[in-house]
Symmetry: D2
Subunit: 402 residues, 4 copies
Amino acid sequence: MPERRVGLWLIGALGGVGSTTALGLAALRRGLTDTTGLVTALPQFSGLDLDEPSAIVVGGHDVRRGSLADSVATLARRIGAFDATVVEACRADLEEWGENLRPGAVLNGGDAIAALADGPNRPQPSSPRAAIDLLQNDIRSFRERHRLAQVVVMNVASTEPAADHRPEHASLERLQPALASDRGILADSSIYAYAALDLGYPYVNFTPSPGASLPALIELAEHRGVPTVGQDGKTGETLVKTVLAPMFARRNLRVLSWVGHNILGNLDGRVLSDPRNKESKVRSKDQVIGQIVGYPLQTHTSIEYVESLDDWKTAWDHVHFQGFLGVRMSMQFTWQGCDSALAAPLIVDLARLTLLAQRRGEAGILQHLACFFKSPLGVAAHDFFQQFELLESYLRSARNST
Amino acid sequence: MPERRVGLWLIGALGGVGSTTALGLAALRRGLTDTTGLVTALPQFSGLDLDEPSAIVVGGHDVRRGSLADSVATLARRIGAFDATVVEACRADLEEWGENLRPGAVLNGGDAIAALADGPNRPQPSSPRAAIDLLQNDIRSFRERHRLAQVVVMNVASTEPAADHRPEHASLERLQPALASDRGILADSSIYAYAALDLGYPYVNFTPSPGASLPALIELAEHRGVPTVGQDGKTGETLVKTVLAPMFARRNLRVLSWVGHNILGNLDGRVLSDPRNKESKVRSKDQVIGQIVGYPLQTHTSIEYVESLDDWKTAWDHVHFQGFLGVRMSMQFTWQGCDSALAAPLIVDLARLTLLAQRRGEAGILQHLACFFKSPLGVAAHDFFQQFELLESYLRSARNST
Amino acid sequence: MPERRVGLWLIGALGGVGSTTALGLAALRRGLTDTTGLVTALPQFSGLDLDEPSAIVVGGHDVRRGSLADSVATLARRIGAFDATVVEACRADLEEWGENLRPGAVLNGGDAIAALADGPNRPQPSSPRAAIDLLQNDIRSFRERHRLAQVVVMNVASTEPAADHRPEHASLERLQPALASDRGILADSSIYAYAALDLGYPYVNFTPSPGASLPALIELAEHRGVPTVGQDGKTGETLVKTVLAPMFARRNLRVLSWVGHNILGNLDGRVLSDPRNKESKVRSKDQVIGQIVGYPLQTHTSIEYVESLDDWKTAWDHVHFQGFLGVRMSMQFTWQGCDSALAAPLIVDLARLTLLAQRRGEAGILQHLACFFKSPLGVAAHDFFQQFELLESYLRSARNST
Amino acid sequence: MPERRVGLWLIGALGGVGSTTALGLAALRRGLTDTTGLVTALPQFSGLDLDEPSAIVVGGHDVRRGSLADSVATLARRIGAFDATVVEACRADLEEWGENLRPGAVLNGGDAIAALADGPNRPQPSSPRAAIDLLQNDIRSFRERHRLAQVVVMNVASTEPAADHRPEHASLERLQPALASDRGILADSSIYAYAALDLGYPYVNFTPSPGASLPALIELAEHRGVPTVGQDGKTGETLVKTVLAPMFARRNLRVLSWVGHNILGNLDGRVLSDPRNKESKVRSKDQVIGQIVGYPLQTHTSIEYVESLDDWKTAWDHVHFQGFLGVRMSMQFTWQGCDSALAAPLIVDLARLTLLAQRRGEAGILQHLACFFKSPLGVAAHDFFQQFELLESYLRSARNST
């Protein structure tokens, strides 16, 4: 293990994405898997001073009680796609990292998430401010205990209901007083984001929950000089959409309608079967086509919980389009992906890239990471290739500035 | 109609692509259809001195006897997707242009193509040299008759069998003597290409036939100062492949196998059901994935003639890929496109762009048009977005130089 | 035209199914199309005394004002799949039949249907009883005017919202008094059903609306000695489901989940985009799998209105199943059908078979026609092959009894 | 374990189907899996005197050297779908049964199969007659050693090339003399079939290889009073075809073309990548549609070896059909099945049903088992539901005769 070590603090560490990330980091460290799926392992990233995956120590919050090693073992059994010998060989690491988990705080996560929070001794912070103190204490002591050079906080928890817009969200000055007095002023994801940024730790939102997206929190990131990025990891069906839609646009083929149906059976899916939680997810998935093609069109996106599929998210998209002389044609695709295995390497990528950005003195929204997200903060473009060009242009300048 | 007029000489004018192109140009001229499907109608092409579609006069060669207006009417009935009133309203233009068709010459097109050449009074040139003279005479007199400022020659005929490699193809100096004496020295498509380039007319090869791809012919283009480009128009399944494969590459997802099955029932499909003609098409379609992802993998591409589908080419692709921690996933797509309606606007685009290039003094291979072709001459990249960037970069410089 | 003529009275005559049925009957009468799609044209129906399609005269109710010939012409343009010369050649028949259309009555059809009823001079019956009188008058005078031996009434209107259960529905005795006094006692489809059965005319419900399914109306059918059958024509996705599910059952493969997504853009789809109207449709489509396999499982069916698809209903089904040794596998299908063209020949079949049944003295529910319906009245089996065996067994006995 | 025991002799025991069958029988015996996938576990089979799966002892021939337990472990790793604890718990049974394997004899299996036969001490019989003696000796001693009441011989080996038609195949009288003198008189599968039937043991051909299909061998079965049945197990894509095609037929929808593309990566697939072996498989898969719909139509079936898919056979079928008024529509399906897990339970079913038939005194072809096969011997019908009715009618009469 290298001298310099960094921390990855996962909010929702026991979920599918969190568990798979931990397993993957352990497997990489032990040389039991290769870097397939890691964007930062592509040749164009060589020469950058990125942290090695083996330098990453895992910790995190989870509202559920449970052992990280057991979560991974259960997930492995359900998914049926990890190598059993790898899971076994990584057990010791996972048990060690499992010691770093803390229960966190549930104030306003919505009923579906509250139902997961099962422990009797769970902390009951009296206000958002008290919750922030508690969370900061957890993360700071993780850093100190492991002598970590940096820590990045990553939201991989289940989707929250769409949050209310509140005038206090507009600026840090208006938000801060409310933290002590108004229990419902922030969604839980934003409380965690506040805790991280206020500590000076980068915050990444891999979910469609509000997180750091409020103006007040972006102000906080800039004020503290900390990078932040989000939101809603682009792992499967939406990734394909943002790759195909530019093709239609550049060929001047007119998309008449684009329908996408997603079915999945993991916890994410279960939480999304609550209509309020689903709403923010569908909105995040459904907006991309119109932005890319540049004209209004009928789109429809559904997500349904189908228990038997577990983590294997299956999506069917139907694209109806018009070509020359008014001829109507269609394209369909089916995506059958293991959600956790698609997301986990991107978590590692985002950890490496935000930690690098912090060392490079970047603060506020990291626009060059837009290609990782369904609803990239601060970037209007959804076209994956335009977004990837932002990343490559950053890489060129980062290499030049070294 | 504008003062300045240009000619589009279609080799295989009575085929689906040729007929649809003629119908489309007539419909555009009469304001009966919009520019959907024309790449050159995108905003980024504005400000360039492109010929208006209404300035294009159509002529061409076809081995079959037949009327252009009847070919369009038959195609419209078979495809069932053109507006009947548009077809009717364009009949007069098509009849007029039909007067510009000539039988051309068949020397070495393969049995499947020879079977189409049904006329008794067909010219029987004694040598490639004699054929070239005959073809040049046809095209030159078309230009003179219509007082055309420029003429572009476009190969939209059915796919020929793969041609033999001959040492004489290596240079113009070695090729020229053989034209008089060696009947089999050039595939028919190359004879047409020679005729065009030697006349000083741009030549575009929309098919996988050899055309102008031989070193001797590229030398001829450069020598005469004429632009040429090809080959094999990228209209459907391969277009999608070259859009999706970059996604897998940029996400570092390892493609394990990529299988593509195409079924279609038009003349193109019938000619391709001869294994010798099919070979060059499949080769053109099958190479792209490995080039884009940068490692060898198992690919398989088939094209089968299924009569009932007619011009509606349907393709199913299955992509098997591996992600993080060795997890294997899959993606499938089905493409249901009307081949002629996809190809025709690209013919108009290529005519406009090569005529512009000629006016700008460009000669030899036009690399910036790679995004239109499955096997772009002179460009290694198959990634559609890299190819499109070549075009956009050309547009920027063309605009600056105006 | 044969001496003996019969009437087909279509409720919702101007809709896609009604219009296509009329066009098809005209085309058959004129020898312009063949009997593809007609079940009653199969060899096993020969020897039965069925009415020739050419003996059928069309009339009907529709809440919309409009000409039948124009409805057909518009539909033909939107669908793009009928032969234009056939549509033209049948225009005279359609205009003639169009004279037989009457506005009908709207009492309780739901907002989505009421919105279609656009005429100012529309009859406003004061009670269900008054509506029945009006409808009976329309149908009876159609019969008399054309000297028809029999008339069958067929509901091909858009789907109504699910109706309230009312104690008066339990028997004819309890229902009859309410007809005069309680405006909301019956859904509109049941008012039409009452009118038909009470007149002694067979009533067929091709929709999921309540129609004749209430005990009181079945009692009426039996009392008047009239056959009735329904409901909700099985034309596409559900047909395939009831063919595939028996395969899984007979191979003892355990279906874990079955998801079906339907998208369509015709009026039916528009009416279904009102959640109350959709509910009865989805319920009809979603129940079949569990009944066939014989155990509870997770199913999900959606129907979404996607305007650009018009009458081309496209469905994607995903079947997740378990085989030997717990291995999980999947099957998907996509169905791309023209709804009206699938339904229309079944309307002709049902007309011929119910008219025959009436002549054979059959009354009440015709169970042998279950294979035509998603929710067959009086038959529990959804397995298409079991249902077809009911029909074949009826044919054998009908032939023997002749 | 019950008193009475029977033997299942697998030709090709180390292949995917043979290995999975052995694993499944061990797992059933130990109560570690349920009977999902076994047709004979359906309610309609109760009351028949079928052998319990736990009474079946496994033995077999395989041209490869190797351990049955290792074959199963390797297959389990490759397929990734069996429960690891089940595989482990069954290891002792598989090792015990592995002792019953014998190398068999390779005379005329084709190059692809010969390449598998790797052992140096392999028996080299000098003639078909000598091979038959050797095989019979192996099977007989298996029966004696384990004191088995009956033994059924099942061909689950890879597909052979199509065999030559020889006049000696026409009758037993003509065949017998040639066995001693003509090395190439019979395909290997027919040599095994001869050995089994001549011993008085039922023979089942789960492959498209010739096996017992020759008139001379059927005569032998009848002469010895032994049942036989085949051929080519109907497990996946063809099963679906024979379920869907009857739907089109009974709805009088005209199938215009039916294309099926299969991709798979197991040994079966590798052997089939030899065009001579593939030919018999494709023929078996391709004939069914025309027979069911009753008119000629264009069909195309392909099987391609795609290594990465291993045992997960994936098929895409495209059905183009015509409905009322000439409207053309389409249906597609994708089948993603684990070939071995689909086939293995049918092997158990066929063993139970042929052993029962032998006890009931049935000899020659067992027509009631047609539903298990792509090319059922002695039955013209390919319609799965007609075939299943044959089985149900047999069950009724078998129950009555008990």
